[in-house]
Amino acid sequence: MWKLSDESLLAGFASKDPEVTAAFVRRFQGRVFGLALTIVKDDAVAEEIAQETMARAWEHAGAYDARKGRVDTWLLTIARNLSIDARRVRSREVTDYDDEAMLRLVSSEPDPEGRGVLADEIRRLHKAIVGLSEEQRRALLLATFQGLSGKEVSEAEGIPLGTAKTRLHAAMLNLRAALEVSRDQ
């Protein structure tokens, strides 16, 4: 069961095969829950989001198109969107973002344990993000893990809107370039 590809597991998940469903949940639960916890910082809310992510995946599994992206990326995107919605419901203030949690994402060594073939990829990603300027890194982390728009980043950072948008754009281009270089090495 554990040798099945992510796509095969998803197909079994969609068909409600009990064993495959359990295997699917076990394979992805840690990353889905971990991402939700990173964003909402509350065990109970994170579990609710992780459960809803699995339920949404089950509802939409039949329409999953492998050409559009990996299964884990798709699941994490669902979890991120749900987590950011939950954050916005619980905290209306734009400035109520968690600086410390974001810094923890890049201040310590990555934790690729149990993520198999993704371990090297995660290390490369971590190195590339640490290589960004601090202001670009902050803009990117705020937008990705706190769901802040360009306008909200400008308010949170006390910078003009145009600067926030430019900073975010540059951060993403620089990160992409750094990842491309590291993958070629």
Binding site: G34, L37, T53, R70, T73, T77, A143, E152, K165, R176
Partner: protein, 227 residues
Amino acid sequence: MTSNSACADIRLLLPELALGTLTGQDRGRALEHLSGCLDCRHQLQSLSEVVDDMLMLAPSAEPPVGFESRVIERIGVTQRTRLRGSRWVTVAAVALVAALIGGAAVYVVGTADRELAGSYRRTLAVANGEYFAARSLENGEGSTAGHVFGYQGSPSWVFCVVRAGMEKGTYDIEITAVGGDTWSAGEMQVEEGKGTWAQPLGVNLHDVLRLRLIDRSTGEILIATWQ
């Protein structure tokens, strides 16, 4: 046809589009430009991949004990659980209206609530309707792409609206009843990111389990879960 200055302007919006935080006129402007600019579409694709990569940064964490079985139970009994919840909501709504009619809740709710409830009751009374309800229409990534409004009366009907940002094309509309019966209810045309559709239901609104919009060209599905 696009110009370099137009591309430069739009490209500053692409990070937010990739992150799902671009809304309103900026989103519509960006999507309109993208429909005719291959270079900007390529950049959006690259930035979306960066967002995907970023999600790997979050550390894995073990969920609370019993998570797996709770997910399986949730998937297995989704319809039953949601139906039970819906019935309670219906019962509560009926009780609230009855209480308002009888005046029993006059001193419990505030003036604004009383006025709203009175307006709601008078609106329903025009055609002997039972209730109105609304649900979000969500895509496969959990984002809200529009809304479905329903009316329980004679006839019962649904009205569907999708907001700016939808792909242009034809969307088949499929309705599934609580018992599992599924039928094609029509189609919606989406132009310039927007579309609406309405139709009498033919069944009671509380017998509808979900409504799905299926993009005829890509197969992408939007779902509004009713129960």
